[in-house]
């Protein structure tokens, strides 16, 4: 793979197998086997034959309707979902902030969760302890909430801590899925600032957002995912224009026929 690439995606397909029948239990399996029934599976093709290169230091935006496969793509780049076909090559340390929030344990305090998240992502105990203060400070929760159980947080507070963790891990590649949506205006400004900083430090960033202004402002290129396929790759303004037109009128761009 060429030096200057951070992520290379080659003909990637990802399928989810969904069990349509009842709960997956041993009891049901035995019952079915004794009746000679087969398990009915439905396959959802979340990503279809996607090929994409992301160079180092670029900021890529991904837009697309609900269920287009954006989160699925992010998870597969993070190494969480294995490809069904194709290949993903990643060059660099990844930090993720994916939809559904990070794996915060609601019974633990924000601070404990920061430490756990850091350790899970591969930092040593010393490294993460050195960073915890900076992360807590960046999140800037009111009234010492950082030492309260996460279950007492508002969703914005939750989002703040999650975002602070992701951007303070000094990743080479930062994956943000709907990360900027929960914060209030002041935190949004601060997080934009931080993102611009990261961009200037030549980090690679991939952003999924339904806030198209975010894509326009931060990204230097964008792609449009539609039902698992990449419809277009272009300057963010162009992509956002096309996408907005599609949302308005419901027409796909003319070059879709070629794909």
């Amino acid at each position: 793979m060429p030096e200057e690439l951070a992520v290379r995606i080659e003909d990637l397909s990802i399928k989810y197998k969904i069990n349509v029948d009842t709960k997956r239990t041993l009891k049901n399996a035995v019952m079915r086997a004794s009746k000679g029934e087969k398990v009915r599976m439905r396959t959802v093709e979340a990503i279809k034959h996607l090929t994409l290169d992301v160079p180092h230091g670029s900021v890529l935006g991904i837009v697309g309707a609900n269920g287009a496969g954006k989160s699925t793509l992010m998870r597969s780049i993070a190494g969480i979902l294995p490809p069904t076909e194709g290949r993903i090559i990643v060059n660099g340390k990844i930090s993720t902030l994916l939809a559904l929030g990070v794996g915060f344990n609601p019974a633990l305090s924000g601070r404990d969760n920061i430490i756990l998240g850091g350790l899970a992502s591969g930092l040593s105990k010393d490294e993460i302890e050195a960073k915890t203060e900076a992360i807590a400070e960046f999140a800037a929760l009111p009234d010492g909430f950082i030492d309260m159980p996460v279950r007492t947080y508002s969703s914005g507070m939750y989002g703040r801590v999650a975002f602070s963790v992701a951007v303070n891990m000094t990743p080479d590649i930062l994956l943000l899925d709907e990360a900027l949506s929960a914060g209030d205006a002041s935190f949004k400004e601060k997080s934009f600032q931080r993102m611009r900083e990261l961009c200037s430090e030549a980090r690679t960033i991939i952003i999924v957002s339904h806030a198209l202004a975010t894509i326009n402002e931060l990204c230097d290129s964008a792609i449009w995912l539609h039902k698992g396929s990449m419809l277009a790759k272009d300057k963010p303004e162009a992509i956002v224009d096309q996408y907005l037109k599609f949302l308005d009128v419901g027409t796909l761009p003319s070059n879709f026929e070629d794909m």
Binding site: M1, Y16, K17, K23, R24, T25, L26, K27, A29, H56, G57, R75, S76, A78, G79, I80, L81, P82, P83, T84, E85, G86, R87, I88, I89, V90, N91, G92, K93, I94, T96, L98, L100, G101, V102, G103, F104, N105, A107, L108, D112, I115, L116, G117, L119, A120, S121, G122, S124, K125, T170, D172, E201, A202, R203
Partner: protein, 293 residues
């Protein structure tokens, strides 16, 4: 633009897989690098669980202790009450056997749930999943550790009331304890990997497991002595993953003897077997977990 200063090229390739192992050495390296995650997770999990009740931790020790008392009464009643001669020995055997069994059992039952309850952590972070059951095993070990002083305390008290009983003082055989405990832990962890995998595919594995554990307890040399089995009946001891270690435990603590060679071989074989088989099942399927949770 040039890459940042702390940039270390590290190329990862994600490809399709078919129930085969990922590269084993890198996996183990990652696992080892992130061991402090498992340690902290077990610490935090305890903290979260027992935040409300300070008695929580005590209860974990008290539970097998009280159970041991109940079983002791049962066993002596069934035997017809010749407690004068070997009452304390029987109690000691049941007690250390139960404590050890509970260590393995806690590894397995908590570890089996660790993936299905791992939820968001599994959906949003990539790390060797075996760290989750490993963390449960660490918790189980930390619960087991204080039961040793409890055992010694009970024996010392018992010795005051029944000075005639033969319970060994400090013996050289006690040096084998760490090894035997490690083998129990490894066996428990290996089986936890197996059942954790099963639990992802069949969500009622856990319920089944609670029955299995109860039956397993009666099949293990805890309420009975390993020496009660003769001839080919001894197969029952070695066919039990915890049979050889429990037999060795009793040998060390009660008889003050070094475990026999066959106990060692049996214990090692079960530990290695559980770890290899459980590890294979788990690691070859763990990339599927995120899709199935």
């Amino acid at each position: 633009m040039s890459p940042s200063a702390d940039f270390q090229p590290k190329i990862q390739v994600f490809e399709p897989h078919r129930a085969s192992l990922p590269p084993v050495i890198p996996y183990l390296k990652e696992f080892w690098n992130r061991r402090s995650f498992a340690i902290e997770l077990s610490r935090f999990a305890d903290k979260a669980e027992y935040l409300e009740s300070k008695l929580g931790k005590v209860w974990l020790v008290l539970n097998p202790l009280l159970l041991a008392m109940v079983y002791f009464l049962l066993v002596t009643v069934i035997r017809g009450g010749n407690t004068k001669t070997n009452g304390l020995t029987t109690l000691a055997h049941i007690l250390i056997g139960l404590f050890t069994f509970y260590f393995a059992s806690n590894c397995i039952t908590a570890g089996a749930q660790s993936i299905t309850t791992g939820g968001r952590l599994i959906l949003n972070q990539a790390f060797p999943r075996a760290l989750l059951p490993f963390s449960s095993s660490i918790s189980a070990f930390q619960t087991f550790l204080p039961t040793i002083p409890v055992y010694i305390f009970v024996i010392i008290i018992g010795k005051i009331f029944f000075p005639a009983t033969q319970v060994p003082r400090l013996a050289i055989s006690f040096l084998w304890v760490p090894l035997i405990v490690a083998l129990v832990g490894i066996t428990g962890f290996g089986l936890a990997l197996l059942f954790a995998t099963m639990n992802v595919y069949f969500r009622d594995t856990n319920k089944l497991l609670s029955y299995v554990m109860r039956i397993w307890l009666y099949l293990s040399p805890i309420l009975w002595l390993p020496s009660m089995l003769h001839g080919w009946h001894r197969i029952a001891l070695y066919a039990n993953p915890l049979g050889p270690v429990l037999s060795a435990t009793s040998n060390i603590w009660i008889e003050g003897k070094t475990p026999t060679l066959s106990e060692f071989i049996g214990a090692f074989a079960w530990a290695a077997g559980s770890l290899l088989i459980g590890g294979y099942f788990f690691v070859s399927r763990e990339r599927d977990f995120a899709v199935r949770i």
